[in-house]
């Protein structure tokens, strides 16, 4: 009989259960690392074993993440546009008629030395008339005028371009000068744009929050199904002495991989959207004679997106695991 032929190999020896428990911290740390590595690899392989359903999960997560991200990108691009506009949103100082060229130049010099002024451009009344003559097509009428009706113009760029309030305060200060006839601040629509951007930002934030919760729930459900599928395995592992952490680990990695894959899908989808918009947008910018390009996520942004996906996946897995694993007691 096979048992008897194998018997000589058996020798009397002390039981080893106690010895295993007494092993050192280094050994236990190595075992911990080993199981992490094994869990990570196993759960990745299990995911790749079902490429179609895994791909679908990644896509769902990717779409849910790409939506707020691309909205946020649009907002950022608009904000860049606002920055461009703010460049031109200088104050227009129309000087009094009594101020001559030398006086205008002197005033420009004085203003440019102010702390809250970034720059001053002097636009002489003669040049303004010349431009007007060329561009308006009223050359004959203008020539018929005895004198130049246009005032000297100073274009003042405030130091703090972003803040509408600051440029309005500057405008108020400058309108008090005796040489200044009128100050025009074209800030109303700028303020509206800023308001719209703020609202948009809040919407994106809310959407991002909602969709993140959606991703967490989706992945939590996926992990719940994975747990259901491995119910018997979990029971057996518990019976032969697997700790909760041991049982939990592969599922946490599964959640991590689904989340990371979803993040990659989101980055790719966002990149695709930027790429498809780039052509029309540059054509539009060209029509406005503007040097303006769409900015995408970039490498850092994409990495952050993948990281965020991983974190969401971990959270979802953690929720599913803490809810459902406890229910599976060895029977």
């Amino acid at each position: 009989m096979w048992v008897l032929t194998n018997m000589p190999r058996l020798k009397k020896r002390p039981p080893e259960g106690a010895r295993v428990a007494r092993r050192g911290a280094v050994t236990r740390y190595r075992a911990w690392v080993r199981h992490h590595r094994a869990s990570a690899a196993d759960s990745l392989l299990k995911i790749l074993d079902h490429p179609v359903s895994s791909m679908l999960t990644w896509l769902v997560v990717g779409i849910a993440m790409a939506l707020p991200v691309s909205l946020m990108l649009s907002l950022n691009n608009l904000r860049g546009l606002e920055g461009n506009v703010a460049d031109e949103a200088s104050l227009s100082l129309f000087l009094a008629e009594s101020v001559d060229t030398a006086g205008a130049r002197a005033l420009a010099q004085t203003l440019s030395e102010r702390d809250d002024v970034a720059g001053v451009r002097y636009h002489s009344r003669d040049r303004a008339l010349e431009e007007f003559r060329q561009q308006s097509g009223f050359a004959d009428i203008i020539d018929g005028l005895g004198s130049n009706p246009l005032p000297h113009l100073l274009l003042v760029t405030p130091r703090d371009r972003e803040a509408v309030a600051a440029s309005e305060a500057l405008a108020a200060a400058l309108s008090g000068l005796p040489a200044v006839a009128e100050v025009v601040v074209d800030s109303v629509w700028l303020r509206r744009l800023q308001g719209l951007l703020a609202v948009g930002q809040r919407i994106v934030l809310t959407l991002a929050l909602l969709l993140s919760m959606g991703v967490v729930l989706i992945l939590g459900n996926t992990i719940r199904l994975a747990i259901e599928n491995r119910r018997e395995e979990i029971r057996v592992v518990r019976l032969v002495g697997g700790s909760n952490a041991f049982v939990r680990r592969p599922f946490l990695y599964t959640g991590l991989w689904y989340g990371v894959g979803g993040g990659v899908a989101a980055a790719m989808l966002t990149g695709l959207g930027i790429w498809s918009l780039a052509g029309p947008v540059s054509a539009l910018a060209a029509a406005y004679n503007a040097e303006w390009r769409l900015s995408g996520l970039g490498v850092v942004g994409s990495c952050q997106l993948v990281l965020a996906g991983g974190v969401l996946g971990l959270i979802g897995a953690w929720l599913a695991v803490s809810r459902h694993l406890r229910a599976i007691e060895p029977a």
Partner: protein, 219 residues
């Protein structure tokens, strides 16, 4: 090694599974636990495994009073006990080797040590050349031997078996029981629940009999 002191277990539905049960199993000893189904054999094993707590009394295994082991201590306690189930409870999605290696993976052995010990265990149960086979391709007796290899691979001081020959023919059953006797001879404490009286009465080991939760005989 295993000691029951006036242990009672009453379930929530009022059923008394065990009443005032006291007995000891010494080291190197093989004890059969017998009785009709429902007599309390499984409950007794479940108490040793800490799958349940007794209502009254004290269970001591390997020197540890089980009532002192908290929730977090349960896995370590179970790592000191090998269990063989009637329905084997193998994992059918992985080969024999991985099934047997499971307790060692849990205990955190490195790959080389795992390979060495798994092969030693498979050698003991005569399945060394089946390590890459999937469990579903094995016969019932072979599956049970894989289950036994898994139970002893971590070299636990205590080995439990719940109806290990329940689905096997008499010749195979005798082989399996002989295997358990060999483990007892090399230092394990073995407790086997079985209702196959004709088989176990031939084996000349102590038999503990339960009837309706009471210990009615030990000889």
């Amino acid at each position: 090694m295993i000691s029951f002191e006036r242990v009672s277990k009453r379930y929530d539905n009022g059923h008394d599974a065990l009443r005032e049960v006291s007995f000891d199993v010494n080291r190197d000893e093989l004890v059969f636990l017998t009785g009709h189904s429902g007599a309390g054999k499984s409950t007794l094993l479940r108490l040793i495994m800490l799958m349940e707590q007794p209502t009254r009394g004290r269970v001591v295994v390997n020197g540890n009073d089980l009532s002192r082991i908290g929730r977090r201590g349960v896995p370590a306690h179970r790592r000191g006990i090998g269990v063989v189930f009637q329905n084997h409870r193998l994992l059918f999605d992985r080969p024999v080797f991985d099934n047997v290696a499971l307790p060692l993976t849990i205990a955190g052995y490195d790959d080389r040590e795992v390979g060495r010990r798994v092969r030693a265990a498979l050698d003991k149960v005569g399945l060394l050349d089946h390590e890459r086979a999937m469990p579903v391709t094995l016969s019932g007796g072979e599956q049970q031997r894989v289950g036994i290899a898994r139970a002893v691979v971590g070299r636990p001081p205590v080995l439990l078996a719940d109806e290990p020959t329940g689905n096997l023919d008499p010749a195979l059953s005798a082989e399996i029981m002989q295997l358990f006797a060999d483990f007892a001879r090399v230092g394990l404490t073995v407790l086997i629940a079985s209702h196959d009286l004709s088989l176990i009465s031939r084996l000349r080991h102590r038999i503990v009999t339960l009837r309706e939760g009471r210990l009615v005989g030990t000889h």
